[in-house]
């Protein structure tokens, strides 16, 4: 090749590079790619950094499971602040202030406070609520079904949280299934399935997140297997809580694939 052709060749190459910049790959486009690679669990857990998980005994058991895992992995869902009481209800989630003192109230520094009061104090970036186990959906009252009453409480709770922590992402988690032992006694699984279905609709209507953990816990009969429950009734054991954790990780992955969350953005926001 003659030496005089080299500059022209380089000029053509330069023009090609400037004309087709997308071939090298752009970070923002790949975030919305549904076939994006699965992020490592340690990265997915950061989706829950600066978040509050509030609820009843199911959240208490999940908290204890996370604490047990943190013995060997201190970063295991390390960014979650847990607030729970065994008998916490959706009705209590809708309280603006503590209506009556009881062990069922959530605590902040050993003081009884409502969900919205604690949220206002902590100002978490995300709030996840799991309650309803202690709300009697089978009971009709004042012309309102149990499910209608529960969803009314959800809507009130969301309204209070939007007032006290307007910037926080809000999420409700489905009820977990019951075991055969409880279903044979109370025949409530169908009712809880309907509540979960309507809860998801309500969350969509309110523009908040909904996380379904029920489906992943059900056996072929649509119930909670005894092998996943430590009391063989409602409450998850370590194996059940491992599934709960996996659902949370899958949810975070889904947010990433949908372009609604990027770990790098969370990191820079924290800085």
């Amino acid at each position: 090749m003659k030496k005089t052709n080299l500059p022209r060749l380089l000029l053509v190459l330069l023009c090609c590079l400037l004309a087709f910049p997308g071939n090298a790959g752009i970070a923002e486009d790949s975030r919305a790619d549904a076939s994006a690679a699965r992020l490592p669990d340690s990265v997915l857990m950061t989706y829950y950094d600066h978040s509050m998980f509030a609820g009843d005994s199911l959240i208490c058991m999940f908290r204890n499971y996370v604490r047990a895992r943190q013995k060997t992995d201190p970063q295991y869902f390390a960014g979650i602040d847990f607030r729970c009481a065994y008998s916490f209800t959706l009705q209590m989630a809708a309280w603006e202030k503590v209506m009556e003192s009881s062990s069922a109230n959530l605590k902040y520094k050993a003081r009884e406070m409502t969900l919205s009061q604690i949220a206002q104090t902590l100002q978490p970036e995300k709030i996840f609520v799991l309650a309803g186990l202690n709300d009697n959906f089978a009971r009709k009252s004042k012309g309102e079904t149990g499910i209608e009453r529960g969803l009314r409480h959800v809507e009130t709770a969301v309204g209070l949280l939007r007032k006290t922590v307007p910037e926080a992402g809000l999420f409700f988690i489905s009820l977990t299934p019951v075991t055969k032992k409880i279903e044979d006694k109370r025949h409530i699984q169908e009712l809880w399935n309907e509540y979960n279905r309507q809860l998801e609709e309500k969350c969509n209507e309110l523009g908040i997140g909904y996380i379904d953990i029920a489906d992943s816990l059900k056996d072929e009969n649509g119930l909670l297997p005894g092998a996943l429950s430590h009391d063989k009734e409602y409450h998850l054991n370590d194996a059940g809580n491992e599934i709960f954790a996996q659902v949370l990780l899958d949810y975070a992955q889904a947010q990433y694939e949908a372009g609604r969350w990027s770990p790098s953005l969370s990191e820079s926001a924290a800085e």
Binding site: P7, M45, V66, A68
Partner: protein
């Protein structure tokens, strides 16, 4: 002149290729600040790092792990949990071991050294209030746990406070207090 132009064009092309190539991935684990803490530097929540010197007094955690055979199966709670659940501030104690089971058996261990007599007064009240709340919480909800917690009580020797619930609570408490 032409040689210089060629060199400039080559350099610019190389720079352009390098800039595009560095943005091929949205995230890599190494880019995040949330990478797991390396095992050799990780310290379990609610504990102090194990003593390396034989003359260094044992931590409360290691003493509890010796006294209670199932301690390592329990969930270890942190000082933050102690503050939220009992209202005991970090400055009020010098050492802590706080554990619960991952089920609802009522099995629980709290051991802490009060920083001084003034803190000891508050710690005593806080532990007793907490025990009462746990009993109230489990009375109708988890009767088995309630039975276990009903038999528990707060013990003190010098500045050491111990609250243990479980089948071997008495022996475990005695073992911890014996070291004082």
């Amino acid at each position: 002149m032409k040689k210089m132009l060629s060199v400039i064009l080559v350099c610019f092309s190389v720079l352009l290729l390098t800039a595009c190539g560095s943005r091929t991935a949205a995230v890599t684990p190494a880019e995040t600040a949330s990478a797991a803490v390396p095992a050799e530097t990780a310290v379990p929540a609610g504990t102090e790092a194990p003593a390396e010197n034989a003359d260094t007094p044992q931590t409360l955690l290691s003493r509890v792990e010796t006294a209670a055979s199932d301690a390592k199966d329990l969930a270890y709670f942190t000082g933050d949990d102690l503050l939220d659940l009992l209202g005991i501030e970090p400055g009020e104690y010098t050492d802590l071991a706080f554990m619960q089971d991952t089920g609802m058996s009522g099995r629980e261990i709290i051991a802490l050294y009060a920083a001084d007599e003034e803190s000891a007064g508050h710690i005593s009240q806080a532990l007793n209030d907490y025990l009462e709340r746990r009993r109230d919480e489990t009375r109708n909800y988890a009767p088995e746990a309630y039975q276990v917690l009903s038999k528990a009580h707060v013990e003190r020797k010098n500045l050491l406070f111990v609250l243990i619930s479980g089948p071997d609570a008495e022996a475990e408490t005695a073992a911890l207090l014996a070291g004082e």
